[in-house]
């Protein structure tokens, strides 16, 4: 298995991929509950709290943010005494990394690093099963390491798999057993908590052959979170770095991505939404957002989605492109009728086809909204209207 394939597998599930990424301190709490040793630590939200830390200096101060690249951005600092620590903590607590605000600092004793490893469990989309990804070099970007090992994990799991991994990493004897034990515990955490990613980077080996998780990342699978009582309420708590509109969408199950243009796009299905966005660009327009209402949306949800697109102040034209498979066109039509009554001046280009199309046409005909059956015509109409920056409806009530 080449490292290219390995890093591809990692890339399939990096932290940006799913919404519930955990902070380092949360990941370490879960590691610890699962029996993996972590360094002693203390979380602070004010520089003064550094005085309460129960272990001595020197310490490491680490910003708790959800974005990557923390180290490179200067988010990890050492302090030899309380004074230096407070000064550095004050600076660190103000940091924003890649748009992500510092939530708190994690303070740990500064440890002597004898050896570092990389160890992760994730799902491999190519092999269709969980895999271990590991490297005898840790603390680095795994994508750039050429010593990466991947190993498919059988179901049910048995501890010998972890031992085989440790062996392939080059361990022997006592240390092999210890590293294997961490691997086994990491997998158990991954499985029992429905994670997409459980990563320890670096996994530290001390001179005394202690093995501990120095930093870690956990990504919880979005689809599974409903059966993981452990994470009840965590999703809202972690939506700190998104716009209010994005948060609102997240909570009602819409997928919104804010973009820079003035054409508000609303489609059903991620692929169709992307293709519509691509066509808007191709025909000279600028998408103002990506909004996928998903499959089977009813009147209420569609109306919510329309309101969200409408609430973008930069939006000049709204382009609705629905091809009904699960989604019933008549439900969408009802939402459109309500929306246009509330916002009669909105420029709204509507393309609607598929399931219950005849019913929808009937409903819309009564309200005077015009339907464009063809996607290219609809996109072109929206682009034309947007480029005029006219507030007069183009597709509707023309």
């Amino acid at each position: 298995m080449s490292s290219v394939a390995a890093s591809t597998a990692v890339n399939g599930f990096t932290q940006e991929d799913r919404t519930l990424d955990l902070y380092e301190y949360e990941a370490k709490k879960i590691f610890s509950e699962g029996g993996i040793t972590v360094p002693p630590s203390h979380r602070i939200t004010k520089p003064e709290e550094l005085a309460k830390v129960h272990f001595g200096f020197p310490v490491t101060l680490k910003v708790q943010v959800l974005s990557g690249g923390r180290g490179k951005a200067g988010g990890i600092q050492f302090a030899n005494n309380l004074k230096e620590g407070k000064e550095k903590a004050a600076e660190l607590l103000k940091m924003v990394i890649k748009g992500s605000k510092t939530e708190s600092l994690l303070v740990e004793p500064k440890l002597n690093i004898h050896r570092e490893l990389y160890l992760a469990v994730t799902l491999d989309r190519e092999r269709g099963c969980p895999i271990f990804i590991a490297s005898a070099e840790g603390g680095i970007e795994i994508e750039s390491s050429d010593k990466v090992i991947t190993m498919p994990i059988p179901n049910p799991y048995h501890p010998y798999v972890g031992r085989e991994l440790a062996r392939q990493l080059g361990f022997k004897g006592n240390l092999l057993v210890k590293v294997a034990d961490v691997a086994t515990k990491l997998y158990k955490i991954f499985e029992s908590k429905d994670l997409d990613l459980a990563e320890i980077n670096p996994l530290l080996v001390t001179e005394g052959e202690e093995v501990l998780a120095l930093d870690g990342k956990i990504t919880v699978n979005d689809d599974s979170i409903g059966r993981q009582r452990y994470f009840d309420g965590w999703q809202e708590r972690h939506l700190l770095d998104v716009s209010e509109r994005e948060r609102r969408c997240k909570m009602i199950g819409l997928n919104l991505v804010e973009l820079d243009g003035n054409i508000g796009i609303l489609c059903n299905g991620a692929g169709l939404t992307m293709a519509t966005m691509d066509m808007v660009k191709k025909f000279g327009g600028e998408p103002g957002n990506f909004l996928d209402v998903g499959g089977g949306s009813d009147t209420e949800k569609t109306l919510e989605a329309l309101e969200i697109v409408n609430s973008n102040p930069d939006c000049d034209v709204m382009l609705l492109n629905i091809l009904g498979g699960i989604t019933a066109c008549d439900e969408v039509a009802k939402a459109l009728v309500s929306f246009i009554k509330k916002y009669p001046e909105r420029t709204l280009v509507v393309r609607l086809r598929g399931n219950n199309q005849e019913l929808a046409e009937k409903i819309l005909a009564e309200s005077g909204l015009k339907l464009i059956p063809d996607i290219e015509t609809a996109v072109k109409a929206a682009v034309e209207a947007a480029n005029k920056v006219s507030k007069k409806p183009v597709g509707a009530k023309a």
């Binding site: 890339n11 992307m274 498979g325």
Partner: protein, 293 residues
């Protein structure tokens, strides 16, 4: 055609749920040989004039069905899929969205061990136009013909089918493989089937940004597929690092971009379309061209 035809006997798992029931009705109306529904706890009742059984085994034993379309809630999908496998079902079409991927991985392993086939989860289903529709695809958009289609997207599949149909190009079979990162049948397995299918002359492959399945498919095509393949990728203008709806639809760390995929298509002898209308145009032109040696 591949996977399904007019003789395919189908049961509906989750037949008494809102979605299962409404799509069961539409499949029956389309002409699909739906033979029974299955909902544990509803055995002995009827849906759309067909019997509902408590178990797949009972449904299969009574009707001789070989295929199941699954509409159960996401946390019950693994159990439903395994039940179908255990009862001897050969083709599972799993429509359910939101199935935990670790459950999917377990189901995929069981399907492989049993030598059965799984389409999905989180997919629109499979259609052999004019013969059999399994899933939630809007049947009226499709028409019988010589184009085989494989797509990772749902509604985009319909959009392209519509473009084909509007251009007078019917389809042999269209398979929506679903947008989840862990899934049953993938591009390569289906490309092979379309390549071997006498009713298919041109293949359309609809991809999305994210992952490297399209790149791998392009290489597979160069090596194994004799028929012309038109490729389309959604997300050509997607910003990096943002999740575009599907778990898989994301560009990250320079991998999985539309450019990388389109380049792989070109490098491996595929025909590249940038809009649904272009897909139809290219497919139409290729249907007139004789097949590769």
């Amino acid at each position: 055609m591949i996977l399904i035809d007019k003789n395919t006997k189908v049961i509906v798992q989750g037949a008494t749920g809102k979605m299962g029931s409404s799509h069961m009705k539409r499949m029956i109306a389309y002409g699909t040989k739906i033979v029974a529904g299955v909902t544990p706890g509803k055995g002995g009742t009827e849906v759309h004039g067909l019997p509902v059984f408590d178990s797949v085994r009972e449904a299969v034993e009574t009707t001789g069905a070989t295929t199941s379309v699954i509409f159960v809630p996401p946390y019950l999908a693994l159990d439903a899929g395994l039940e179908a496998l255990d009862a001897g079902v050969e083709l599972l079409v799993l429509i359910t969205e939101g199935m935990p991927p670790q459950d999917t991985a377990k189901l995929v392993a069981a399907v492989k061990a049993k030598g059965a086939r799984l389409v999905g989860p989180n997919c629109p289903g499979v259609i052999t136009p004019g013969q059999c529709l399994i899933g939630i695809l809007p049947g009226q958009i499709f028409s019988p013909g010589k184009v085989g289609m494989i797509s990772r997207s749902g509604t985009l599949t319909y959009e392209i089918a519509l473009a084909l149909t509007d251009a007078g190009l019917g389809q042999s079979t269209c398979v929506g493989i679903g947008g989840d990162p862990i899934k049953g049948m993938g591009y390569q397995e289906l490309l092979q089937m379309f390549n071997d299918d006498k009713d298919t002359d041109v293949i359309v492959l609809v991809g999305e940004i994210g992952g490297t399945a399209e790149e791998a498919a392009a290489e597979f095509i160069k090596k194994n597929v004799k028929k012309p393949v038109v490729g389309f990728i959604a997300g050509q203008t997607a910003p990096p690092g943002k999740r575009m709806g599907h778990a898989g639809a994301i560009i990250s760390g320079g991998k999985g971009t539309a450019d990388s995929k389109l380049a792989a298509f070109k490098a491996n002898g595929m025909h590249v379309a940038l809009t649904p209308a272009e897909v139809a145009k290219l497919a139409g032109d290729l249907l007139k061209t004789p097949a590769k040696a």
